[in-house]
């Protein structure tokens, strides 16, 4: 995007309204937030702006005049500010204030709530398909525990008793780890939590979850992780993206078996996450549709059609891009590219 195509916005007021605006507008490529101002240096919107590398200031005259703002969003709710802006704004700048900016804020909050609901419902719908995997992974250790415990009631050899009791303890730990992983995954993504997320660890966590959703039998796995790959974003949402892509890859190889390759690549400060399968592939004319909501190739009642739509929403939010390379009968590669986490979202400081 050429900088000249961007709408430059200055935000006045960094309370809840200002914070909501920063969160939403920051993700829109055609919008650049040139700065945010509030009299209170501890206002939540200022804190959020600092996290995202957006300029923060208490100097309103400087912000509205000297940073090329084409639109001034006034969410201070202060009538004096309204009067001040009308008298002092640069001629080329528009003002959105008063009840109009309040309406905008209300709509933004509504949209962000809807988006969170959509993510959560798709995730929960997916967990329904975990039943077979969970039952398998819980009932197997239970069989071991039961068999060993029955044996212990008659076992005379003290060494064997110790060994078997130890095996029971380990089996119980494995079983409780399943519940822990699943509760962590099924919880609602904590909002506004953009932090530096180590990607390799998240991929391993996603692999554990994806195993419940799909059978990894007959699938060879290749992991090529570059150390220190990290991206900036919400860790719960990134996990959701990775589980989705890995599950899709494994489903594509469900009948034939194949190779699942998971790579992280760090180059020129960017991080690529690449997930490849050697499965059925996607027809070229379908590729543009796969990110559309409710697009699914699964049988009725099996898929929500929201998986890749949500993947795209989250990746966009993280300022990343998705590339798909697919050949029928040969397989599919999804490449997610994220900007350098150190510089992501950084603007010039006032």
């Amino acid at each position: 995007m050429e900088p000249s195509d961007q709408t430059k916005i200055a935000i006045l007021g960094a309370g809840r309204g200002g914070r909501a605006l920063v969160d939403l507008l920051h993700h829109v490529p055609s919008i650049k937030i040139v700065g945010i101002a509030d009299r209170n240096p501890a206002a939540p919107g200022l804190e959020r702006a600092r996290e995202l590398g957006i300029s923060v200031t208490t100097d309103v005259p400087d912000l509205i005049s000297n940073h090329g703002a084409g639109l001034i969003l006034d969410v201070t709710g202060d009538p004096k500010m309204e009067t001040y802006l009308h008298a002092h704004k640069p001629p080329a700048a528009d003002i959105l204030g008063g009840s109009a900016s309040h309406l905008l804020w209300t709509l933004i909050q509504h949209e962000s709530k809807l988006e969170a609901e959509l993510l959560q419902s798709e995730k929960l719908a997916g967990i329904g398909s975990f039943a077979a995997g969970i039952a398998h992974d819980i009932n197997n250790p239970l069989q071991l525990i039961l068999g060993l415990a029955e044996n212990l009631t008659e076992e005379r050899d003290l060494t064997a008793v110790h060994e078997q009791a130890h095996e029971i303890i380990e089996a119980v730990k494995r079983t409780s780890a399943i519940c822990r992983d699943l509760t962590r995954y099924s919880r609602r993504a904590s909002p506004h939590e953009d932090i530096l997320v180590p990607v390799n660890g998240k991929l391993d966590e996603a692999l554990k979850i994806a195993r419940y959703a799909s059978s990894f039998h007959d699938i060879e796995m290749i992991k090529q992780y570059q150390p220190d790959a990290a991206v900036k974003g919400n860790p719960d949402e990134l996990l959701h993206v990775l589980v989705n892509l890995i599950t899709n890859a494994v489903h594509a190889m469900e009948h034939s078996g194949g190779t699942l390759t998971i790579e992280t690549i760090v180059h020129d400060g960017q991080v690529d996450i690449r997930i490849s399968d050697t499965g059925s592939g996607i027809a070229p004319d379908k590729i543009p549709e796969i990110f559309e909501p409710f697009f699914t190739t699964k049988a009725p009642g099996k898929g929500t059609g929201l998986g890749l739509y949500n993947v795209k929403t989250i990746v966009n939010k993280m300022h990343g891009t998705i590339a798909v390379d697919s050949r029928i009968g040969q397989g599919t590669t999804f490449t997610l590219t994220f900007p350098n986490a150190e510089t992501a979202g950084q603007g010039s400081l006032l």
Binding site: A131, A132, Q143, L144, I145, N151, H217
Partner: protein, 144 residues
Amino acid sequence: MSEFKSGFFVGGEACEGRVLVVDDEPDIRKVVKMTLQKAGYEVLEAENGEKAIEVINSGENRLLLDVVICDIRMPKINGAEAVAYFRSNYPRVPLIVLTGFPDTDMATSFLRQGVVDYLVKPVEGEKLRAAVARAIEQRELARL
């Protein structure tokens, strides 16, 4: 304890019968083996359907295998495929399905195919031994 003794002699020792346990989890094979050995069965192991077919086709097993206990969710040839193979090639060998995932449709389909029992893990030792004894008994009755 089984009520019926088929009374084979394997390796010079009295044996209640020879059982093949097919499961990809070594822990399950170990514990099932432990449970059945206590009742005097000889237990062979296979880690998937492909290995199970190899075992049944090797040497004397073809003649001396009394029962196959088979998991469903397994790599290579999965349980459902293995059951189909055993039923068409070794219809006289009774099959018991031992699965971690109870599924009524699957259970019905297996029982229709002639599987003698459908057990869901975790199964108590006594129930497992009874199921094996019952399977052997049915096999002997079918021979008469």
